[in-house]
Symmetry: C2
Subunit: 304 residues, 2 copies
């Protein structure tokens, strides 16, 4: 059974520090990898963590501030040098294409693969992508510029067929996919074996939400309600609440309020500011409101 996991490559905010590079994550679901944001140094972090370029097909960019997208050109360029042939899909606001195209033409001429741009409307909550494993929805956030988070909803998995039942009823291989989808089985003698005798329930599909950058914004609560894991920015401590408000960022407590109200499984707070030498301050503030809070950390994987 392939695990669903989130790897944080960078969880810093605008200014990188010794500890944190800018925003970048890789969500892994059923063996596929989806990147969320791509700050400067993301390809370097990928290398450091042994991520293979070939398994990454889609990158989702929340907004066009440098700490969320300056790593794209280097990553795209290196994928080319590595001989990638599969398309790479970028899901972002249309301005990204305007900004990247001239760079791609100059630096990546004759590249071995194609970059495909998909336009996101950050003001709408809507399905922006789906494949066999996952549906991805945009979540409008409240930032200084147009910005959206992302909700990743894993699709329902097939039921697990019981090996002992395959042998017992002598189930032909060709019928197994249908049974995994929920069909009953008819034996040669005509007996109907109900699906529930043949299969066990799959693990429930995972839901992950990424909300960065944003001020405290209760409108996102219905979208992230009950997700297994919520990554929410927590750029400031409560002492800087006014600054959070004016720059349209959240305090740690506000991130935790969203998590509490949306009854999420766990909260990871990130987009950590360079101003705090002791990040545990931020973490403690959030934990007071929502106990199951984790402090994000660069180059760390989390099981969903």
């Amino acid at each position: 059974m392939q695990k669903a996991s989130l790897t944080i490559l960078g969880c810093g905010s605008a200014l990188p520090t010794r500890k944190n590079t800018p925003s970048c994550q890789i969500l892994e679901l059923r063996g596929k990898q989806y990147m969320i944001d791509c700050g400067e140094g993301s390809q370097i972090r990928m290398r450091q963590m042994n991520f293979k370029a070939s398994r990454l097909g889609h990158i989702f960019i929340s907004h066009l501030h440098g700490d969320h997208c300056f790593g794209l050109i280097g990553l795209i360029s290196s994928f080319g040098m590595l001989g990638r042939t599969a398309e790479l899909h970028l899901h972002a606001q249309p301005d990204l294409e305007k900004l990247l195209r001239p760079q791609l033409e100059y630096f990546c001429e004759g590249m071995s693969y194609e970059v495909v741009f998909h336009s996101i409307d950050p003001y709408k909550h809507q399905l922006i992508f789906e494949d066999r494993s996952v549906s991805v929805y945009s979540i409008p956030l409240k930032h200084r510029v147009a910005c959206c988070g992302f909700l990743f909803e894993e699709k329902a998995r097939d039921r697990n067929i019981r090996r002992d039942m395959i042998d017992f009823y002598n189930i032909p291989i060709w019928q197994i996919p249908a049974i995994k989808k929920g069909s009953d089985f008819q034996t040669e003698s005509g007996e109907i074996i109900p699906n529930q005798n043949l299969t066990t329930a799959p693990i429930p599909p995972k839901r992950y939400a990424y909300c960065s950058d944003t001020a405290y914004h209760e409108k996102i609560i219905p979208y992230v309600q009950g997700v297994d894991c919520l990554y929410h920015e927590a750029t400031f401590s409560g002492a800087e609440a006014l600054r959070a408000q004016s720059t349209k960022h959240s305090t740690a407590r506000q991130a935790a309020e969203i998590a509490r109200k949306a009854q999420v499984g766990k909260l990871i707070i990130g987009h950590l500011s360079a101003r705090y030498s002791d990040q545990n301050l931020i973490w403690k503030e959030a934990k007071e409101v929502f106990e199951n809070t984790l402090l994000a950390s660069d180059m760390t994987s989390y099981e969903l």
Copy 2:
């Protein structure tokens, strides 16, 4: 006495590795810092090594391949967030401005300081910049695209005045600058004291040359003749000599040949390829030809 030093922030080649990020160095002369090339992650390396943005005034870009300039936009943007007010001067081929301007307009609107572009002709060996401490010359290299290295020549320092002589002859303070420049001193009784009795020779000015990226190119030898330190690319080992030739890079041995023929003080070989897990192979090849060869290493400082 302020030391002259070179700090290598990144000495990798196109593909970053766990160990090496792309090209970036900071040359420090008389308290001033000059950056050479600015691959992705350079601002992160600066942070990791506690370099202050405010002391950097000039950046020299050898050529427009991504691993030598993708770090600029992030660095420029962060300097703005840090409230820099002093101009930042970029010395590069004119295409850099075409590529960067739209990004600066989009990402760095209303920034607190100005970026000033200075155009380099990479096909000419000429003075491209000077201030009170240093003269910088371009060195035409031989690469797949237009590319030049840089020769930094420290200007002659003032002579050191002897404190005991100041007291002995009761030299007025206002005359000291002239004496440091080489003037003699006339006592009240009219006696002429020759400068050599009053001063000691300054330390000889330093010369540093940066040559990356380039194929083996003997034409650079007169330009780098006798420099205290030569940084020369050594992307390949001798086994890949053909590949070095076709991609217009150098082997370690070729880099050392240049150093030997130019009788430099020491050679640092860099632009290290991701393909070699044991970089000492490269180093040994160069040392066979030129004994005083150092293998470049990220985040390492070298006294000139």
